[in-house]
């Protein structure tokens, strides 16, 4: 695997579980999926980052893995707020839902959101990453 040929420059991972952020970072790096991983432990933090860097295109992620079940602000709440961000941000970011939820309702709701392009069940594996890179 070519360590210099990444699928994405910057990938943000929004998850309250440390183990999942840790794993995601490892897997994404190992499989040269992302050059840089931006772990965010809450949806609020992720939003502030995006908001703060809305003018700084370099700092914005190319892809966001978004968990659903998080305290305070869950994945869907994040999507509601994300909608309000400027087009420049939304244009650059691709959102992939990454959840352990098995509920078909969650999948449906996520897929009906215009900013979500994929829904993946945890755990994140090499095979699933291939799907994201070559949909």
């Amino acid at each position: 695997m070519d360590p210099n040929n990444f699928n994405f420059e910057k990938v943000m991972i929004v998850d309250d579980a440390e183990i999942d952020r840790f794993l995601a970072k490892k897997v994404l790096t190992k499989h040269a999926f992302a050059k840089e991983v931006l772990p965010q432990e809450s949806a609020m933090n992720a939003l502030s980052y995006l908001s703060e860097n809305q003018e700084n295109k370099e700092a914005l992620p190319d892809l966001i893995f978004l968990d659903i079940n998080m305290p305070k602000m869950n994945g869907f709440d994040f999507l509601e707020e994300y909608k309000k961000l400027p087009e420049s941000v939304k244009k650059k970011c691709i959102i992939v839902m990454l959840s352990s939820s098995l509920l078909p309702e969650d999948r449906e709701l996520a897929m009906n959101n215009p900013y979500v392009c994929q829904f993946l069940n945890k755990p994140l594996t090499a095979d699933k990453l291939k799907d994201v890179a070559n949909p």
């Binding site: 490892k26 352990s100 945890k122």
Partner: protein, 724 residues
């Protein structure tokens, strides 16, 4: 002229048409009277010759009256003359009075004759024959239909007007009277005016006048009068009588007349035989029979009624009689009493008719009314009729049983007095609903006040019958459903609690599954990562076992989640897109069975029209069957496969899931759908998969069967009906 004379004239004569002969006489009488009243001195002395002449004239006058003899002796002096003149005057007056009387009688006679159509006549009898002409009154001419005086009043001319057939009879009767009887009274026909078409009947009474001394027949006096009208009337009367008698005999009603004084039955129509079974004769023989036939319990009514009769009031009474053959009959008797001048009851006239049929009909009506009433009263349902102003007009006894108030207490009160204040709005709503739809029952549930306190729930319906023919008002029909309503309310409350519990359970299952699953997913992810980082065979083997174990736990959670959702979620029926469904399943299973890439998975779908069902549940059952088939594939076989064949249409879908895997021994076929049942220790499933398949198929109203031979493979056949 002397006043007395003038008075006399005006009293007895028509002054303008005084006969000339009398004029001179009255003048002379007048002069004489004047002389007497004039004082002697002033009056010139009268010559003796003049007095003589006057005396002669007076005597002539008296002789005219036929009483001159005694005047001869009187003198010719003035007082004597006055005496004579007075007598003349008296005679004159007497004669006038007689004449007047005669005139009056004549007129009277004429009027009578004209009114009675009776003509009188008088014919002289000569040698017992009527040959000479005599006298006919004007009316006799009229009776004969000819003008008075146009023919000679003789027997011969009269004969021409007698009906030719009767002429002989009349002649014989008249001759017989003249010769023997002296009188006759006969009736015969005449032809008026000699015209045979104008026939009429006359009655003639003749009386012979004989010479008192010789006994010789002198003349025949008679009267002839028209009796046609009388005869016609008599004939009509006879005819009417005959008809009445016929009617009397034929009528079913019984007519009777009773003489009260001597307790005698005067009349009884023959119909009594039909009504009573007793003949007229039996009634005539026993005047009390009619009363004896009255049923004892009805006699009172009849006797009571008799009091009215003795007061002269007409009566009408109904009672029962027992016929001769023992049969009972209802009769109606109407009686008109006749009282004598002394106020005592003289006679009773009445009609009795059979009213059994009417009474039976009335009785039947009363019975059916009674029947309905008792049905109403014995029904548990209360029936009420209320006015437009919502006042009770009628309530059945059953309402009293329900709420304790008597029917009398309820009638007249307002509906609002008895219905719970919180339900008054409901009542007003009912009235509005009924106004829009007359004759359509409107359902209600309201609380009624109970006399002892408290309320009962009533359920029923009410109909707007304000324009009804027989019953006008709102007709309500309801029953006590207090227990039912309490039960229902309790049921509703418990249902709500259950729903809440269910929702809580749903949320619980969701969060549990997530909370359980999330760490498992993390561990799985880390295991896989770690395995990709090492080449140490022993470590890889350990990690692989850990991974298998965690995957099993993960599937178990998935199964439980599916099970709980299948049991509780409503069916969501849509047109099923099997192509998409199978694509998703393929996609899903790819991650589950990554190691067995050699397994062939074939799908054949034949969609013949729309098939409707719950796609998510079909997905669950296919996922389970297919993943089972994959899991228990036979690695020894050269071409392991799983095949899904679907034929779907508007009637249903036939689904077959076939594999050439390890197969299931026959003894387990019945048990594999049981909960938590696993065939062998080798199986890695939760024991929930096929149970879930069976449950899901039940939910979708379908059926499932299997053929399986160990070592050859398994086929599950499923039929699902279209639920659209």
């Amino acid at each position: 002229m002397n006043k007395e004379v003038k008075h006399l004239i005006s009293k007895y004569f028509d002054e303008d048409h005084l006969p000339q002969a009398y004029v001179g006489l009255f003048d002379e009488v007048s002069q004489l009277l004047e002389i007497r009243s004039t004082p002697k001195r002033s009056s010139p002395p009268m010559a003796n010759a003049d007095l003589q002449a006057i005396c002669q004239k007076l005597q002539n006058s008296l002789s005219v009256f036929g009483s001159s003899q005694d005047v001869d002796e009187c003198g010719t002096d003035i007082p004597s003359l006055i005496q004579v003149a007075k007598r003349v005057k008296k005679e004159c007056a007497d004669r006038i009075i007689r004449q007047q009387k005669q005139l009056r009688e004549m007129k009277h006679l004429k009027t009578i004759q004209s009114l009675t159509n009776a003509g009188s006549w008088e014919l002289p009898v000569t040698n017992d024959e009527l040959c000479q002409s005599g006298y006919w009154s004007d009316e006799l001419f009229t009776v004969l239909g000819i003008s008075p005086g146009t023919i000679a009043p003789t027997s011969q001319s009269y004969r021409n007007y007698i009906h030719p057939d009767d002429r002989g009879y009349v002649s014989a009767e008249v001759s017989k009277a003249i010769r023997e009887t002296g009188r006759y009274d006969i009736e015969y026909r005449i032809q008026r005016g000699g015209d045979p078409k104008q026939e009429c009947n006359v009655r003639e009474i003749g009386e012979l006048v004989r010479d008192e001394v010789t006994g010789k027949a002198l003349r025949l006096i008679g009267v002839t009068f028209d009796v046609s009208n009388i005869r016609n009337t008599e004939r009509a009367l006879v005819k009417a009588n005959i008809e009445l008698r016929k009617l009397f005999d034929v009528m079913e009603d019984v007519f009777f007349s009773i003489n009260v004084e001597d307790q005698r039955v005067l009349q009884m129509s023959p119909s009594c035989g039909k009504l009573y079974g007793y003949s007229m004769e039996e009634f005539f023989e026993d005047p009390d029979l009619w009363f004896e036939l009255i049923l004892d319990e009805d006699k009172e009514v009849v006797l009571e009624n008799n009091k009215r009769l003795s007061r002269g009031e007409g009566s009408q009474v109904e009672y029962r009689i027992r016929r001769k053959d023992g049969e009972l009959r209802w009769v109606e008797m109407r009686i008109t009493p006749t009282l004598g001048p002394d106020g005592l009851l003289l006679r009773l006239d009445g009609i009795i008719n059979d009213v059994t049929k009417r009474r039976e009909a009335e009785l039947a009506l009363a019975n059916s009314e009674l029947k309905f009433r008792s049905l109403l009263e014995n029904s548990n349902d209360a029936i009420t009729v209320t006015s437009e102003e919502l006042k009770f007009l009628f309530v059945t006894q059953s309402l009293s049983h329900m709420i304790g108030y008597s029917a009398e207490e309820i009638v007249g009160t307002s509906v609002f007095d008895l219905i719970h204040p919180d339900d008054h709005a409901t009542v007003n709503g009912l009235v509005d609903a009924m106004a829009n739809k007359p004759d359509t029952p409107v359902h209600f549930e309201v609380r009624f006040r109970v006399k002892d306190g408290g309320w009962i729930w009533c359920e029923g319906s009410v109909v707007n019958h304000l324009n009804g023919d027989v019953v006008k008002g709102y007709i309500g029909n309801f029953r006590d459903v207090t227990y039912k309503i309490r039960y229902r309310k309790a049921l509703e409350a418990s249902n709500n609690r259950l729903k809440k519990t269910n929702n809580e359970l749903d949320r619980f299952v969701y969060s549990v599954s997530h909370d359980l699953r999330a760490p498992l997913a993390s561990v799985l992810g880390l295991l896989e990562y770690t395995m990709s980082e090492t080449d140490d065979g022993e470590v890889l083997q350990d990690l692989g076992m850990m991974k298998g174990s965690i995957e099993k736990l993960d599937r178990f959670i998935l199964d439980i989640l599916d099970y709980s959702r299948n049991a509780r979620l409503e069916l969501k029926v849509h047109v099923v897109n099997f192509h998409q469904l199978l694509a998703d399943i393929k996609d899903h299973l790819r991650f589950l069975h990554t190691g067995r890439s050699t397994l062939r998975f074939d799908v054949n779908i034949q969609e013949n029209g729309d098939f409707g069902s719950d796609e998510r549940r079909i997905s669950i059952l296919l996922n389970n069957l297919v993943s089972n088939a994959m899991r228990y594939a036979d690695p020894e076989k050269p071409d392991p496969f799983v095949e899904v064949n679907i034929v779907s249409g508007p009637k249903g879908a036939d689904i077959a899931v076939r594999d050439n895997g390890i197969g299931i021994p026959a003894e387990y076929h019945e048990k594999i759908f049981d909960m938590f049942y696993r065939i062998s220790e080798k199986s890695t499933g939760s024991g929930l998969g096929l149970y879930l398949v069976k449950e899901t198929i039940d939910k979708l109203k379908g059926r499932i069967s299997l053929q399986s031979v160990p070592g050859e493979g398994t086929t599950f056949n499923i039929f699902l009906p279209s639920l659209v």
